[in-house]
Amino acid sequence: MAQDDHSGTELAAADSSHAEQEFAGSTGTAVIPHDGFTNPGFEPHRPRVTDEDPKREKRAQRTVYTLFYLSILGSVWAIAAYMLFPIEGNDVGAVRLNNMFIGFGVTLALLGIGFGAVHWGKSLMTSPESIDIRHPIGGTEATKQGAVEVFREADEESGFTRRSVIRNSLIAALLALPIPAVVLFRGLAPQDQLPVELLSHTMWAKGTRLTLDPSGVPIRASDVTIGSAFHVIPEGLAELEQGRLEEKAKAAVLLMRLEPSELNPAPGRESWAYDGIVAYSKICTHVGCPVALYEQHTHHLLCPCHQSQFDVSNNCEVIFGPAKRPLPQLPIAVDDEGYLIAQSDFTEPVGPSFWERN
């Protein structure tokens, strides 16, 4: 039945062609039958219609040069379209025409050359099929030996193997060399900051007013009707000169009002809501997309990126999807003027998990 590695060589002898000998090598577990078919050699050549019929040949020739001339036409048209279809007057429609007609010209120019050349090759060029003889990629035995000899001589002359102390010290030096280069990359981020420190704080602080995103208008508790949801940023964020997006990426909040009876605050969080109004971080605890699809009647939040779902009535715990942690809650209250304010910063880092978080 099956041959193993070693019996293959006997079977290979069945093939007598000398080229096979040149390609010698273990056949492994290949099964080479004794009475397999032999290659019948090339099929008789089949002439093309253009080889036999001069009329067809003429027609093919006409087709090819017509295509090339069409290509020139396309190029000319593309230039004309550049001028005929300018983008003027803040008109989006003009952009579309400009794009389309320049595109048509270029397409015709390219396809004309392409189809013309292929048709020329297929129907008019007369070369017979070429037959290359393959030789083993490894070269002849003499070449291989020659290469081995070069390495041996080089080793002997340099003493690479013999003088192992020199060699090893060189290897050690080469290994040490890239380390300074790696250290230089510390400069990619500011030297005076530490990531864990930055990730642990946001702009929110005791007394910061909740304001609308993006206008920055403060929100009165009385404006938040039951069932509504607001996109919120901390007061002052819209006016930041530096680091506005960085702060927003941590401080964005979603504000919702439910019936107070529908909320089941976790122990210690009973005072974090105000009259059914709750504020949660908008940054997904999975990989950080904004979780901002609010389904009013189920009180579920859905992240549009990876479909994690959070239950607002239940401390924004995860009910489905790849996220693990609930969205962090921002403790809120109301100031003397009736505006919503934060009681403090978030009590845990917002956004995606990271190694040093615990």
Partner: protein, 544 residues
Amino acid sequence: MTTAPTRPSAPAKRTFTAAASDYLNDRTGLAVAIKGLGRKAFPDHWSFLLGEVALFSFVLVLLSGTFLTFFFQASQAEVHYDGSYVPLKGVEMSVAMASTLDISFDIRGGLFIRQMHHWAALLFVAAIGLHMLRVFFTGAFRKPREINWVFGFTLFVLAMAEGFTGYSLPDDLLSGNGLRIIDGMVKGMPVIGTWTSFLLFGGEFPGTAIVGRLYTLHILLLPALVVALVAIHVGYVFIHKHTQFAGPGRQPTNSVGPPILPIYAAKAGGFMFIIFGVISLIAALFTINPIWNYGPYDPSPVSAGTQPDWYIGFADGALRLIPPGWEFVWLDRTWSFNILVPLIGIGLFLVLVVSYPFIEAWVKGDKREHHIADRPRNAPTRTAIGAAGVTFYAGLWAAASSDILATHFSLTMEGVIHALQAVVIIGPFIAYFLAKRVCIALEKKDREIVLHGYESGRIVKLPGGEFIEVHQPLDEFDRWRLVSYESYAPLMLRPNARGKITFGQQLRAGFSRWFFEDRIAPVTRGELEASHSTHHEVTQSEQH
């Protein structure tokens, strides 16, 4: 190839071409290469064009990308947009976004070139993927081409990296969300994650450094690597000579096809223009990445139904399929398995892809060079493994559109995710089984045809009243196409010189059994003669 002998003395009347080529050759010595390669044979098959599609779309990516660099500004400094697109007038955005809008709305033909660049890039990755599948399913990765498979695989990864860095440059809402996801994934990696993200973004996400950094990668480092690897990859196609399918006259020791000059040059050169032309037509007609609809990046707005470029889909899908709760605090550190499992899973998948040629070579123990491409059916286990891999990838890929699947087909989000989890885990096994059975059935059909000929459709009534269908025997050329493959047998274990069977050998035997135990051998002359003389069904012998 022999080296070119020195030219005989020039004829009395020299053409311009002869003079010019003489001039060049005397200074470059190119004649040796032209004589050696000019008539080199290039085997023909439609599937061999897939690699060319990849190459040519890359050329177009380079050309169109160079044009874009003259206008694009990779800066995240804030400006108020003041271009032609009215709905965004006065909106605060980065210079990168504003210059991309200028390319689209204020430079004639700019949108066309930008769309060509994006479409060509999408086609580039797609063509590489299909080309890899062609090479895989025809066994064109076998000795001596294993290392070129590794180069090609590296190109696939680099192409995806090129795509992602390019996608991130316009600094619009979609690309910013893509970077946000990358940031979240990087942060989820143990030990190095937090600092890697911090260094990558030059501080906190999103910072003002990332677009400039990605731009350097996108237009300098990655293209240089891709160009170098493409040169090596294609260079090795020349050195190895292209594989060919079995056919009359085609030997493992020859390479048959139209010569490079002139036919292959005309066809491949023309094909390049056709590829350019098709991409150009798509760019003229179909909008891609309309960043003006998305607006500038802001960490807060909603963006439902967003999709990454297609080739990143499998990674995004892997993230979506993780069940809830795969994150733990242990030893006072956060272990985000909801990030790690997709990363490791995709990593393992890619490692399997790149190392498959070496695994198969080890199982077979076949040290010969292989230049005849397999028909997929004649390597049933490999084809089945490929089908399983494709199913796994497709499952992850579909998962990247889980929300769109759910909304378009009015399904629940949970139902779609659970179904796709099943596709990713069970699907590969089903695909494996189906593909293997189909391959074996096709091999059996091939044997039938060789032994009994084609069904001619002609029914004949015999004198005894019996009806038979006349079977038309194959000619020797068609027969050769069906019988000229080798099958492999399971490895028979034998003790080594020290009388032991090593664990390595046992493992190899196990793999070998898995690969080859239900092989179908090609028809031999003896079997064909037996079938002719007896007119009886010859049982499919697997014995020799």
